[in-house]
């Protein structure tokens, strides 16, 4: 995680102005590519498949806010993704809320959950933080298994897509697609703005050198907790949206393997890069789709990618390309 930071430290001032200009151009190009991809994709691929990618891309970007920009490895993010999926599904199906309101309620639930889990987990650091988030997320998993409204092993099925603002029929694939694309782009923009805000700068200062950030007088725990809640909330948006797209929420959504997958997407795309997690999500979701004929060997492939990424490819796809093009922030 610190490789990129160390690299950035070696630069002379002159080189860094050149680099920051190049970075700006690269960022504009990436934005154009991203929006173009979102607009064009449904004409070439199944809209549901692209929507799945968008949900996981938003999930991975939200996760990256923690690991990439704050330096906290959460191993329990499925709790927010899946928890929000169940809550959104329930309020839409049983309470009859509109899909947008349902997703927002799901995100709110994820925020509350994020506050509770985050407040406990930040009491320890590093590897303990990872173990604690994993264990706390397991509580959410058992609740999803045991509570009456979740449908236990079968999951919560038959969530209606309903009408957006009471008029737009979301059972139409393209209408649903535009809704999901809008949610993704808004979520992505929020993350982008956060990273570049003064708040985001403090988070990165914490990642790079926690004692120094502390000595500068920042209330580190408060910043970590705020980042955690924001990350959980946006993961909840992704999870709620996913529940509306697929019309169900299941135990898979809250399982630790989903927490592992979002880590892999972020790692593969590039931790601490802006566009990397989205690239990672596209890669992993596509891979799972293309390799589905392999059955449970997919898990072996995923595990092997994990091992290779950690050993050889710690900057990830976007991070590695950025380094080759000598661009610092993409």
């Amino acid at each position: 995680m610190n490789d990129a930071v160390a690299d950035a430290g070696d630069l002379s001032a002159a080189a860094s102005t050149g680099r920051s200009q190049r970075s700006r151009v690269a960022q504009i190009l990436m934005w154009v590519a991203l929006i173009a991809a979102v607009v064009v994709a449904p004409f070439f691929l199944y809209p549901v498949f692209v929507m799945q990618i968008l949900c996981f891309a938003l999930f991975a970007c939200a996760f990256n806010l923690l690991i990439g920009f704050t330096g906290l490895l959460s191993f329990g993010h499925a709790a927010f993704f899946g928890g929000a999926a169940y809550v959104a599904g329930h309020v839409i199906k049983v309470w009859g809320l509109s899909p947008l309101a349902g997703i927002l309620v799901g995100a709110l639930a994820a925020a509350v959950l994020g506050y509770l889990i985050g407040a406990l987990a930040i009491r320890r650091q590093g590897i303990y933080f990872a173990m604690i988030t994993l264990a706390l997320a397991q509580i959410v998993y058992f609740f999803a298994l045991q509570l009456p409204f979740t449908g236990g092993e079968n999951g919560l099925q038959g969530i209606p897509r309903g009408h957006l603002f009471g008029i737009i029929d979301l059972s139409q694939p393209m209408a649903m697609y535009c809704f999901v694309a809008a949610i993704f782009l808004i979520g992505f923009l929020i993350i982008y703005r956060t990273v570049h805000s003064p708040f985001g700068q403090v988070l990165q200062a914490i990642r790079e050198n926690e004692p120094r950030a502390l000595s500068l007088g920042y209330n580190i725990d408060r910043f970590k907790l705020m980042a955690f809640v924001l990350s959980a909330t946006l993961s909840g948006v992704a999870g709620g949206t996913k529940a509306v797209v697929f019309q169900f929420a299941s135990l898979t959504d809250v399982h630790w393997q989903t927490s592992g997958e979002v880590i892999l997407m972020t790692l593969l795309g590039g931790m601490g890069t802006i566009f990397g997690p989205a690239v990672g999500a596209v890669t992993i979701v596509t891979l799972q789709h293309e390799l589905s004929f392999m059955g449970s060997w997919v898990q072996v492939v995923i595990g092997a990618i994990f091992i290779l990424c950690v050993l050889l490819f710690r900057r990830g796809i976007v991070g590695e390309i950025g380094r080759m093009l000598r661009v610092t922030s993409v």
Binding site: I263, I305, V310, L311
Partner: protein, 301 residues
């Protein structure tokens, strides 16, 4: 009232039975963490592998070799499986983990997570996910013993006694012998120990092999009790992580005692409010984090 006490004692015994597995696994994790500063996510998968080695030795190896009469039983498995799993652990350390010591320990955690997925995926492909019974339980440990308050399966009693003996033997070796003092010194200041002429990289490999071997041993003991399933390690490792957070990584004895105690508590919870049994350890972790974040036996930093 009388019935209740019997029920509580019975659940306590079953809880203790789970507790010895928590203790053996958290002991291995703590030893590895001490010297390598690595949390081995593959520990659960290696425990599962240990159980499968025992199952394969008894039920499959003979068939594969075309010698249907060959069933390698429980006692040989108790020695072979830890050796197989420990050797595999040493390979992981030598070939993979070794390259990551200079980076953030998070990368080692992710690497071992990948190893766990690979192992689990491989076994899922060849074996039934819902479990295969292990038929190789030795004749001498079949049947039940009367403990006064309940009749208890002989094998489970053996597993409890044997594991407790193993845990305390490991504690004794680490705290009271020459090998243990080298290990403790290596945990504190590996560079200096190396400068005294001790081969620390070799010690690291052997320690990782020993810790994972303990997981393999626990797997063999678990095979006749639970059915042998590719997923048996995955859920267990998360509970063991909670045990480790509760106990703190600082002490060997702490890992063993908290493992046993939490197994007991989990068993008792079944008596009073069964649905909470699967989460009680996680909630206890929450309480410990609120009251004593470093863990019960951990050093406050």
């Amino acid at each position: 009232m009388d019935v209740n006490i019997k029920l509580i004692l019975a659940q306590a015994m079953l809880g203790l039975n789970n507790g010895v597995f928590y203790a053996m696994l958290s002991l291995g994790l703590a030893i590895i963490f001490g010297l390598l500063n690595v949390i081995n996510f593959a520990h659960g998968a290696l425990y599962m592998t240990g159980a499968f080695v025992a199952l394969i030795l008894y039920s499959f190896l003979g068939v594969w070799l075309g010698m249907e009469w060959l069933h390698i039983g429980f006692w040989p498995a108790l020695i072979i499986a830890p050796l197989v799993v420990g050797s595999f652990g040493m390979l992981i350390e030598r070939l993979l983990l070794r390259w990551l010591y200079r980076y953030d320990p998070i990368y080692s955690l992710l690497l071992t997570f990948g190893v766990a997925l690979v192992l689990q995926g491989i076994f899922i492909n060849y074996f039934n996910v819902s479990g295969t019974p292990y038929p190789g339980q030795p004749e001498s440990l079949r049947g039940v013993v009367n403990l006064g308050f309940m009749v208890f399966p002989k094998f489970r009693l053996f597993a409890i006694v044997f594991s407790v003996i193993v845990c305390f033997a490991v504690w004794f070796v680490i705290e009271r012998t020459r090998i243990g003092s080298v290990l403790r010194a290596g945990t504190e200041k590996p560079e200096l120990v190396q400068a005294f002429g001790i081969n620390v990289p070799l010690m690291v490999t052997l320690t990782f092999g020993f810790g994972t071997g303990l997981a393999g041993l626990a797997g063999v003991l678990a095979a006749p009790i639970y059915s042998v399933s590719p997923l048996m390690g995955a859920d267990l490792i998360i509970v063991v992580f909670a045990v480790v957070v509760i106990g703190g990584m600082g002490s060997i004895l702490g890992a063993v005692v908290s493992g046993l105690a939490l197994g007991l508590i989990e068993g008792m919870t079944k008596v009073f409010y069964a649905p909470a049994a699967s989460t009680v350890i996680f909630f206890l972790m929450v309480v410990v984090l609120l009251v004593r974040p470093a863990g019960l036996f951990g050093r406050q930093s």
